[in-house]
């Protein structure tokens, strides 16, 4: 529900901005700042107040949702697709292919990823595409490892042997016979990866190494607002709440997807043997 709302807000941000009459990157010339030049508190025309340049925080928070969702969903999807492909291949092929791929995943998993991410961004220059690339690169290995493990145990099943003896080629076995069994754990992982990707993007932007201003993201809004936390609580509060609600909603979704798809877990305790 909450996620649907966030997605709708992100989709219709320009329409809402039109209706309200404020632009995300334009100051309200008539009354965006107090006479002293400080941000303006919440009023009817600026429900979340304004920022240090007199821009409407409400509109900016909504526009930021677009960046966060795009970063979170795209990076997680890329990571999951890559992870599934590599994991399937490693698990099914076995032998030297498996050794090389599994070790590669081990190496990527032992990278100090935030440090590496920051260093990479500093070299290539901050942009949304780079942020997404960095997140995807450091996330796919975890998916790959799970998929590999599952594939190894699945490929010994009798039905796979049956498929092989009927002359199914390896691709058919990997994608038609094995993959459907992996959809549940992969789906759970995808929903849990999205919030962590969103947090990663926000963190990079907060450090000034993600999406750069004036494009609004929750991370860079928070970074800007910290200069004003003594006079403008709303400027810190609303981006923070938006970010927290989003990650919380995705984590709750991930948990319920897992409960729904995993017959073990909670239920195990109910039927006490």
């Amino acid at each position: 529900m909450v996620i649907l709302l966030i997605v709708l807000v992100a989709l219709f941000a320009p329409l809402i901005a039109d209706a309200v009459g404020h632009k995300p990157n334009e100051a309200d010339q008539l009354g965006g700042l107090t006479p002293e030049g400080l941000p303006l508190g919440p009023t009817w025309s600026h429900p979340f107040g304004t920022d240090y340049l007199g821009r409407d925080v409400f509109i900016r928070v909504m526009y930021a949702a677009r960046i966060s969702l795009v970063a979170g969903v795209v990076a997680s999807t890329v990571a999951v697709v890559l992870g599934v492909l590599v994991g399937l291949l490693a698990g099914y092929a076995g032998g030297i292919v498996d050794t090389v791929l599994a070790r590669t995943m081990d190496v990527i998993l032992s990278f100090p990823f935030l440090l590496f991410g920051i260093a990479l961004v500093s070299i290539s220059g901050p942009s949304l595409a780079v942020v997404i690339g960095v997140i995807a690169f450091f996330s796919w290995a975890a998916v790959g490892r799970i998929v590999r493990g599952q594939t190894i145990s699945l490929k010994e099943r009798e039905y796979i042997e049956a498929a092989r003896s009927l002359g199914a080629n390896p691709f058919r076995i990997m994608f038609v016979e094995i993959f459907p069994n992996l959809i549940a754990p992969v789906l759970v992982y995808l929903t849990l990866l999205i919030p962590s990707a969103i947090v990663f993007e926000a963190t990079l932007s907060f450090l000034g190494l993600g999406v750069i201003p004036p494009t609004p993201t929750w991370g860079n809004m928070l970074a800007e607002s910290l200069g004003f936390y003594q006079v403008a609580w709303w400027y810190v509060f609303f981006p923070a709440v938006a970010l927290l609600i989003t990650t919380l909603a995705f984590n709750l979704l991930g948990d319920s997807v897992r409960d729904a798809l995993d017959p073990r877990g909670e239920h195990l305790f109910r039927e006490q043997r």
Partner: protein, 319 residues
């Protein structure tokens, strides 16, 4: 066990080598030009060439790589571009800060996370269980920079406004100088780091304990008439700890990533602050030094975890 250990250390060495290679490729071979960045935006081609020459960037890649590995192998990380001090002394200065932060926070999060997890798992579906589950999910969803900002605002700024100066907002005092002020400076960063991480442990402990408490040997222990406390802690928790140890190895190793944010928010002069600062200044030798050190942390932590398995779970020792 010995063979296993040798293989693990060899793998660790390979990981470390790949990491140094990645750093080398990133900074010395990649298409962008480090010299341009250092010489500045309006530099003439001559200046760029001079910078390149002074950094040895105009030599063949293979030669550069050989020198780079040679220096690394001797523990020589070069000199900072900015203040000409050696990277090693620059980093060593900051290690105690980050280590104090990491160890304190780790102790706190293990304590909080595991006890909350055990509390929840021993009373499934109770109010305590639901509360722990919800609070854990809340902090699990909380970005550490956000929690840092909140803690800073409430416990430093608001308290200072109210005239209560219990927690300093930034800086660091060495333990040897004054243990009390040392703890005072670290307590907010400790809690920020610990709360975010403890959430994972509470969730993990709860799940793992629930599984273990359903095992046959727990039923046997109950049937023998052992006290519930003993069953939960000696029999249950011990084997439930295995996934937690794995997680701890990963987390403690990657803590250097986590401290980046906390150190910057609370103004602690540790490795994380150094890392961001040198990345922003394009101070390559320092960036490389920090990354190599961080990577070694992770590799060593992973090896320690694998060894710890052997002690916790006798089944692992056989393989």
């Amino acid at each position: 066990m010995t063979l296993f250990l040798i293989r693990r250390i060899a793998l660790g060495a390979v990981v470390l080598w790949v990491m140094t290679l990645a750093v080398f490729v990133m900074f010395f071979v990649a298409p962008h030009n480090v010299a341009n960045l250092i010489a500045g935006r309006q530099a003439t081609p001559e200046t760029v060439a001079l910078v390149k020459h002074r950094l040895g960037l105009d030599r063949p890649v293979i030669d550069q790589y050989r020198d780079y590995m040679w220096r690394l192998a001797h523990g020589n990380l070069g000199y900072s571009f900015y203040n000409s001090t050696s990277v090693r002394s620059l980093i060593w200065q900051r290690v105690p800060v980050t280590l104090s932060l990491a160890i304190g926070a780790a102790a706190l999060w293990l304590l909080m996370g595991i006890s909350a997890g055990v509390l929840a798992a021993t009373r499934p579906r109770s109010f305590a269980d639901r509360a722990v589950t919800f609070i854990a999910l809340f902090f699990y969803s909380m970005p550490s920079f956000l929690l840092g900002v909140i803690v800073f605002y409430l416990l430093f700024y608001r308290l200072h406004l109210a005239g209560i100066g219990w927690f300093p907002g930034n800086g660091y005092v060495a333990f040897t100088q004054s243990p009390w002020r040392w703890a005072q400076h670290l307590i907010l960063p400790w809690f920020t780091l610990a709360l975010v991480t403890a959430a994972t442990y509470a969730r993990l402990t709860r799940g793992s304990m629930l599984d273990v408490l359903n095992e046959d040997y727990i039923r046997t222990a109950r049937a023998k008439g052992l006290r519930e406390r003993r069953i939960v802690y000696r029999h249950g928790l011990r084997s439930a700890l295995t996934p937690i140890v794995t997680q701890f190895g990963i987390d403690f190793g990657t803590l250097l990533g986590g401290v980046i944010i906390v150190e910057n928010i609370f103004g602690l002069p540790g490795l994380g602050q150094q890392a961001v600062q040198s990345v922003l200044q394009q101070d390559l030798p320092v960036v490389i030094g920090t990354i190599v050190l961080a990577a070694s942390f992770i590799v060593v932590a992973n090896i320690v975890v694998d060894v710890a398995y052997g002690f916790l779970d006798p089944r692992v020792r056989i393989h």
